[in-house]
């Protein structure tokens, strides 16, 4: 496994080691290991079927793992029933009890812990204020909007000071605007309460925005674990590069050197200057990742380490930014992204495009 950026100096609260889970012939988790430090926000990011939800359910205790070990604050909880784990969880559909009022929903975990009535009332009031739902205690969940239900679920999952908070795609049912404001609110709440959090999503933007660290999952494995910037800028595999952000995927091999950089001959025939770590220089086939926002329009070939004349295939206007598809003389097609509304270029326009040697990343060939 790749270096994970570490959980820093923070003491690990959650430690999953070599978790394995199969459903008949389907392998849902293939020896997953993960530690989460105190107060840390870790996101499990991956497509559906990648095992991220299975891992979350295993941590919560709703799925038994076939092999491996799960520790919470140093205690082995692998075989502990969910009720005794002391973990707060927010479900994708919120799972609010429809027959209980908001206040009774939030009081539920406290009642189960035998907290005194007066104390329960005080803490329910307090958390309702924290999630800005004061005065909503007597309502039933169905009388609330989606965003409000979401906040009740969050309040219920945190009111008993859980050792760990789990969130299973909690924002997927909300519209974009509400989702963005809820994401910020969650992050504030999480930091204010110092909650150790494991968050599951398939939305890479959400993961980049919220997380201290991201675990990118695919086919029951963690493909890469690291800080959001490390995941984006230094993807460890072709899958990570393609799943997190957009990427132009190029294949080639080292063909020599040029001005202190490695020279790579692409399968398309183009030759590029690329910053490669020394270890990769001797390698045969290379997989290269070029982010669309790294490619620029050039006036002069000397403005970048790599410059190519290109023909515009398509211009996509996206409001805050613009996307262009261009074709090089070799036939290689690249996607290019610029900030702002961009120049309204007609298809067929010829322009010079380019990028520097450090803008391109090599990932292991798969």
């Amino acid at each position: 496994m790749s270096p994970d950026g570490g959980s820093g100096s923070r003491a690990p609260i959650l430690a999953v080691s070599h978790a394995r889970k199969t459903y008949g012939p389907v392998v849902a988790l293939e020896g997953v290991s993960l530690t989460v430090g105190e107060g840390e926000f870790v996101t499990l990011l991956g497509p559906s079927g990648s095992g991220k939800t299975t891992l979350l359910k295993a941590i919560a205790g709703f799925e038994e793992i076939d092999d491996g070990r799960i520790e919470l604050a140093g205690q082995d909880i692998t075989d502990m029933p969910p009720a005794r784990r002391g973990i707060g969880m927010v479900f994708q559909n919120y799972a609010l009890f429809p027959h209980l009022t908001v206040a009774r929903n939030i009081a539920f975990p406290l009642e189960m812990r035998g907290v005194a009535r007066a104390e329960i009332d005080r803490r329910v009031e307090e958390i309702l204020r924290l999630v800005e739902l004061e005065g909503y205690g007597a309502r039933l969940p169905r009388q609330l909007s989606g965003g409000q239900q979401q906040r009740v679920a969050l309040a219920r999952a945190t009111v008993f000071n859980p050792r760990l908070l789990l969130l299973d795609e909690p924002f997927s049912a909300l519209d974009r605007k509400l989702r963005e404001s809820m994401q910020v609110e969650l992050r504030h709440l999480q930091q204010r309460l110092g909650l150790t959090t494991v968050f599951v999503t398939h939305d890479q933007e959400e993961a980049l925005l919220l997380s201290d660290r991201i675990a990118v999952m695919n086919h029951g494995r963690i493909e890469q674990l690291g800080h959001p910037a490390a995941i984006y800028d230094h993807p460890a595999s072709r899958f990570v590069a393609g799943f997190v952000g957009e990427a132009n995927m190029l294949r080639g091999h080292v063909a020599g050197s040029r001005g202190g950089h490695a020279e790579v001959a692409l399968d398309s025939g183009d030759r590029l200057a690329v910053d490669l770590p020394p270890a990769a220089r001797g390698a045969g086939d290379l997989q290269l990742v070029l982010r669309p926002e790294r490619i620029r329009w050039l006036d002069d070939a000397a403005q970048a380490d790599n410059a190519f004349p290109a023909v515009l295939v398509e211009h996509l206007y996206l409001g805050q930014n613009s996307k262009y598809r261009v074709r090089l003389a070799s036939g290689l097609e690249l996607t290019l992204r610029t900030q702002g509304e961009g120049e309204p270029l007609a298809a067929g326009t010829e322009r010079l495009v380019g990028w520097d040697a450090r803008d391109i990343r090599g990932v292991p060939c798969s």
């Binding site: 919560a60 205790g61 709703f62 969880m89 799972a95 027959h99 539920f108 812990r113």
Partner: protein, 291 residues
């Protein structure tokens, strides 16, 4: 085809402009008419006629007799008591069955459904005779018990209240299971997982979440079983052997042996009133706790 039907339902000759919704309402009314008519002829008319009979000569004499007469009172409360026992027994036995059906894998659920439905499809009379074969003094159960030396004399299982209860619970169990099963299918399973995750032991999940959420089903099934029990005839008649008196038997006696139609009609009306009352009570219970 629907359109022609709708046109046909419109009174001929007159140009009445009806909205689309209005035309459909008319069509539905026309389609429902035969059924409503049948019910009116074979149910409502006899009921009204019975009511007329019960007020013979415009007097309340029969009702006075029903209310003051010791026999009807005794039998009435005995019926209510038996109906309650049967309802509770059906609930205790049926609730876990419904839960099993609602949560089992497809194969097991199908098998379980067949087990519940097959007796349901079998004639009531056949099933009641089957219980006579099982429970009688020379029945299978007693033969086994005596043969094994567990008891010296055959146990009195038939021609008493026990036999009646066993038969009624058996016959009425599906009426409880199906409504509860239907409600359980709609209960979101993640709610139970959520409750467990929030620290609730299994019995608390049941008491605080599952039972309240399935209460509408319990109320519906309970209503059915209780009301059907109040008017049950064949099973208590055969398994009770004339020793267990229930209202339906008493009414039959009034008609068949005493030829006292007025008295029987008054009893019928009282039974109908009791059933409506029970229905209203259960309905209230179900609505108050509906999610």
């Amino acid at each position: 085809m629907q359109l022609t039907a709708a046109t046909a339902a419109r009174p001929a000759g007159r140009r009445v402009r009806l909205s689309r919704a209005g035309r459909y309402r008319l069509l539905y009314a026309a389609l429902a008419a035969p059924g409503v008519l049948l019910l009116a002829v074979v149910f409502v008319y006899p009921l009204l006629d019975l009511m007329r009979l019960s007020f013979e000569n415009g007097s309340l004499a029969h009702y006075e007799e029903v209310v003051s007469g010791g026999l009807f009172g005794t039998v009435f409360w005995n019926t209510v008591r038996i109906a309650l026992i049967v309802t509770i027994a059906c609930a205790v036995l049926g609730y876990p069955v419904a839960h099993f059906l609602a949560t089992a894998s497809r194969g097991w659920a199908l098998f379980g459904l067949l087990c519940v439905v097959l007796p349901f499809w079998t004639s009531l009379l056949v099933r009641t005779y089957a219980w006579m074969i099982l429970l009688g003094n020379n029945g299978i159960i007693n033969k086994l018990l005596v043969g094994a030396g567990l008891v010296e004399r055959p146990l009195p299982l038939l021609h008493n209240e026990f036999g009646v209860l066993v038969g009624m619970v058996h016959v009425l169990l599906p009426y409880f299971v199906f409504p509860v099963y239907a409600v359980m299918l709609r209960v979101d399973r993640t709610l139970m997982a959520a409750a467990e995750g929030l620290g609730a032991p299994l019995w608390q999940v049941l008491r605080r979440i599952y039972l309240p959420l399935t209460l509408p089903g319990i109320a519906a099934g309970g209503t059915l079983v209780f009301i059907l029990s109040l008017g049950f005839f064949i099973t208590p008649a055969l398994l009770g052997g004339g020793k267990v008196m229930m209202i339906a038997l008493l009414i039959e006696q009034q008609v068949g042996q005493m030829l006292n139609w007025g008295m029987a009609a008054a009893m019928c009306m009282t039974l109908v009133a009791a059933i409506l009352l029970a229905y209203a009570a259960f309905k209230r219970l179900g609505r108050r706790n509906a999610p």
